[in-house]
């Protein structure tokens, strides 16, 4: 039968930014019909064995998925499968299924369906949205056991390069099993902002639209599809006119692809009046490695090494860390990567031990490393060795003053000579300081004389400068990236670095919002590091503005007394100078005005 290939549009919720034209890959959530069979005594006991075996198979599959998820997406996501593993053995599931098989002389599939539906009915009444969504985890586990009972292993096609995943409701384990390196976008009929699909899509920088109701049933694998998460829109079977329209619209709106280094002919990125700007990537998960090249980053400006401490209480050995850093160096080649030493407190390594009343001001980052020298030394040795295979820098997190720098450098030098004596291969490593504590801003000139570079961490700087906990919604009105004190600090730190002839990389998420990036450039920043998927947008804006104009705006901002004044000061000239780049809703607004809220990158 000829299919009707009329263009159709769906509207849902864009939960991860981006737009893509690709081909549908339908992912069946392998939910299957279940029938009731009546068993005799002998069959009942055989059925219990069969159920037992299915649990065992499901357990093995989940352990494999968990390993993959830990590696690719990080322990926050991998940990979810610990919850799935516990559900397999939960007395409320396993015990009740076994009881039902015996009592009703029913087959395992039927018993499992009945018990699962019971549990789901209870969950659907929970008020909390996040926990209600966990019903999908129970269904996921149930489907896995059902597959195991029928002896089927879930199979996923190898993804083609332009695959757009279309699913009714993508289960967490299906997401983890997919070869997401090759996926271009994700859509699901169900789901909301807090669904697992949304969380993972954002972590991986994949565009995603959810809540599309019946899209799945209307597609076939291979159909052409447009996903535009900015508008929360999905277009199936787009006409040639629509495709052209779409491409034109985004070529204008986002010349992203044209400002990649390859398309610039490997010319450096410059403002219109010729000031060279370097954009590099903030990276944490191995799954983000591909995006470093894909989005045209000049190396990795910030590698958050905490990922390596994924498993609770387990510190990776020197050799394991060495392998990880060699991989990071390769990914970032030829520009190199800056590895931030573990930025965490003791709770990560010794859960439950010595809980601090105020961890943000506690024994964390370089303080923790100096107190636990073995942890610091192991990491330093691994980095020094890995540097033999590519350019690596070390940055010391949460430095307060030169005392921290000198102690850390002494340890680094000590390990360097020890490795040399042992005859190990090692590379040159530059050592920099994270400037994120107010005391380090004030003392930046003296610190600059004893380090090789600065990394300006704006997230923590704003938090510490303004004494505002950024995780606390009650004080979110006081968390202002465009605070005059923050802007003045950016200037001071850059001038201190310049006076010692060292470089500064601004590596907070502030740099990933184009309007903020322009302000940072106006304040003197030339190196910005950000979420890889933001690089094309920031590059486009950078190449279309004049440094002189950005500087003039930044100067006016520095005379402001309040963040509201700064935001107003930024807003007006941006709209007059660059109406083609910034629409009113993409610019900061004073928090206490009635204007629409700033469109921030969802990081």
């Amino acid at each position: 039968m000829q299919r009707d290939l009329r263009e159709e549009r769906w509207h849902g919720l864009g939960v991860s930014e981006g737009y893509v034209v690709g081909r549908v890959l339908r992912i069946d959530n392998h939910s299957r019909q279940v029938y009731r069979a009546s068993l005799d005594e002998v069959e009942t006991s055989r059925e219990l064995d069969r159920f037992q075996q299915a649990l065992q198979d499901a357990r093995e599959q989940l352990l494999a998925i968990k390993g993959k998820a830990d590696h690719e997406m990080g322990p926050e996501h991998g940990y979810l499968f610990d919850a799935h593993l516990l559900m397999l053995d939960d007395p409320n599931l396993r015990g009740r299924v076994q009881d039902y098989i015996v009592r009703e002389k029913a087959n395992a599939e039927w018993a499992l369906r009945v018990v699962t539906d019971d549990l789901l009915a209870v969950y659907s009444r929970v008020k909390d949205e996040y926990l209600r969504a966990r019903g999908s985890d129970i269904e996921d586990v149930a489907q896995r056991i059902l597959s195991a009972l029928t002896g089927n292993k879930p199979q996923y096609a190898n993804l083609t390069r332009d695959a757009v995943i279309v699913s009714a409701d993508l289960s967490p384990s299906a997401v983890a099993e997919l070869d997401l390196q090759h996926a271009r976008a994700i859509t699901t009929d169900a789901g909301g902002w807090t669904s697992h699909t949304a969380i993972i899509a954002r972590a991986l920088g994949l565009p995603a639209v959810v809540g599309l109701r019946d899209l799945y049933s209307r597609t076939r694998t291979g159909d052409t599809i447009i996903v535009n998460s900015y508008a929360g829109e999905v277009i199936l079977h787009p006409t040639t006119a629509t495709l052209e329209d779409f491409e034109k619209q985004f070529a204008q709106k986002d010349q992203a692809c044209r400002v990649s280094p390859a398309e610039r002919g490997n010319e450096p990125l410059r403002t219109m009046d010729g000031v060279e700007i370097t954009l590099c990537a903030n990276v944490e998960l191995p799954a983000e490695f591909d995006s470093v090249r894909k989005f045209g980053a000049s190396g990795i400006g910030l590698y958050r090494s905490e990922f390596l401490l994924s498993r609770e209480g387990v510190l990776l050995s020197e050799d394991e860390q060495y392998k990880a850093y060699v991989e990071v160096a390769n990914v970032a080649s030829p520009d190199g990567a800056t590895i931030r030493l573990f930025d965490l407190g003791g709770e990560k390594l010794h859960p439950g031990v010595g809980t601090e009343r105020n961890p943000a001001l506690g024994l964390r980052a370089i303080r923790f490393g100096l107190r636990n020298e073995e942890v610091l030394r192991t990491q330093v040795r691994a980095i020094l060795r890995a540097a033999a295979h590519g350019r690596l820098n070390i940055v010391l997190p949460m430095v307060s003053d030169l005392a921290d720098v000198r102690r850390a450098r002494a340890i680094i030098d000590d390990e360097r000579s020890r490795l040399a004596r042992e005859g190990r291969e090692l590379g040159e490593v530059r050592v920099g300081a994270m400037i994120e504590v107010p005391s380090a801003v004030v003392l930046a000139r003296s610190i600059a004389r004893e380090v090789d570079f600065f990394s300006l961490g704006t997230n923590d700087l704003v938090q510490y400068m303004l004494a505002v906990d950024r995780g606390n919604d009650e004080v979110s009105d006081w968390f202002r990236s465009l605070h005059p004190s923050v802007l003045q600090s950016v200037v001071d730190v850059h001038q201190a670095a310049a006076s010692a002839a060292i470089s500064t990389v601004v590596c907070g998420e502030m740099a990933s919002t184009p309007a903020y990036a322009v302000v940072l450039i106006g304040l003197g920043a030339t190196h910005l590091s950000m979420t890889p998927s933001s690089i094309p947008r920031v590059a486009r804006v950078t190449s279309a503005v004049k440094f002189a104009e950005a500087e003039a705006i930044a100067r006016m901002c520095l005379t402001c007394a309040t963040p509201d004044e700064v935001e107003q000061t930024v807003r007006e000239p941006f709209l007059t100078h660059w109406p083609q780049l910034f629409s009113a809703h993409s610019l900061p607004v004073a928090k206490h005005s009635d204007q629409p809220p700033l469109l921030e990158t969802p990081n």
Binding site: A83, Y130, D137, G352
Partner: protein, 93 residues
């Protein structure tokens, strides 16, 4: 039997990851361990993740933890500890 009042202190509440950690811990003890919401007396078996999730305990929820068995003292201590450190979930950049 020992009883102790605990409060959910991590921002996301007793969600899948925190609940998994709690159940893992509870399973290390022989004692029967139960949690009960102070506000509506809804109870849960701390060794069953499905049951713990059903508490739908958001940040700030107060619970009464009860343990009964040979290692009840240790169990309650470990339980109080894991609640007070917010299930080891440090805020990160």
């Amino acid at each position: 039997m020992i009883e102790k009042r605990v409060t959910v202190t991590n921002r996301l509440g007793l969600h899948a990851r925190a609940a998994a950690r709690l159940v893992h811990m509870a399973n290390q003890f022989q004692s029967v361990i139960r949690l009960e919401r102070i506000d509506d007396r809804l109870g849960a078996d701390a060794k069953s993740i499905l049951s713990v999730l059903m508490l739908a305990a958001a940040c700030g929820t107060e619970l009464s933890a009860k343990a009964e068995g040979a290692d009840e003292t240790e169990a309650i201590e470990a339980l109080a500890e894991i609640f007070s450190n917010g299930f080891g979930e440090a805020e990160r950049d």
